[in-house]
Subunit: 132 residues, 3 copies
């Protein structure tokens, strides 16, 4: 298993980790790569890269903040942790995505990018990558 | 890896791809099948088949359109691509689902159906199926 | 494949199944464990354990009920099944999560717990666990 570490810089942030994951699996003989996030206020999505990608990421950050409103009534707020909305936003993304490998490379679509989704940043986050 | 292609017919559409995926894995010796969507405005869900399935699919299409409102303020709208909401709807579904195999068949629940989720149709879409 | 069975007790409930899944994979030689839910009104998420976990689970239950409103107009309601919102809530969580294994143990993050998400309880639910 490869354990990657990245640093996020904002409270809510989509961070492109495609190069790091691609490097971890490079030349691997297996059929697929499991990308796993060992955190409960972060997640993972595959979303658009290329022209307009910054806007797509910004829109997704804003949409998840809008969908799960910090003004809702929360139980967890009164118990020390102040980010119950971060847990819900994380639950709406994925904790694991399994990406097929072709000739030792990630078989991503033309515009697909692997994004770590930060909902309680800035923090150092880990990503586990396992070839199966 | 099997690469399947399907044609969607509406802007937002759940398309049953269970038979195509089942055919791709038929008799395979592995433990599970990874079903992967190489697109950023489409996704995958397992939802109900059988009696009432058409209504379940229609309700899910309508719910995802209602959850992620095209009337929200979007950054990506002004950059050429006109479907930022399609990216967000896609992010709320899955890019990959891994289904256990039993005797070379998909070990789906009694009513489970594999649906490709189209959010920017009509288009030709690919699905990658890898047995692991 | 291991087939686990659990009993839920409320209509909407996050049920901790970490111990059961951990027992099923204990000592396994593979690289990852696929945790799969063969139901269309239930799902799976990895969320917080430890202090405050009950509140996190309660907040996530409430948030999913709030996000997908039973008062919306539904097609499926008139066809016998009375829980179209349960299908949508299920679609927003995951049907499968693949968790890396390290020395025959689930490589979960420090606070990560595996929760079955019930949206149409109380019911008996199955979980399939396959090591790959």
């Amino acid at each position: 298993m490869h354990k990657l570490a990245v640093q996020t810089e904002r409270k809510t942030q989509l961070l492109d980790i495609t190069a790091e994951v691609g490097q971890a699996v490079k030349g691997a003989a297996g059929g697929a790569a499991v990308v796993f996030v060992p955190h409960t206020t972060a997640g993972i999505v595959l979303q658009a890269s290329g022209e307009g990608a910054t806007a797509v990421a910004a829109d997704l950050e804003a949409a998840l903040e809008q969908l799960v409103d910090e003004a809702w009534s929360w139980q967890h707020t009164t118990e020390g942790d102040r980010n119950p909305w971060a847990h819900v936003r994380s639950a709406l993304t994925a904790s694991s995505i399994t990406i097929p490998l072709e000739d030792g490379e990630l078989a991503l679509g033309d515009l697909q990018t692997i994004f770590l989704c930060e909902f309680e940043g800035p923090r150092e986050r880990k990503i586990y990558v396992t070839v199966i």
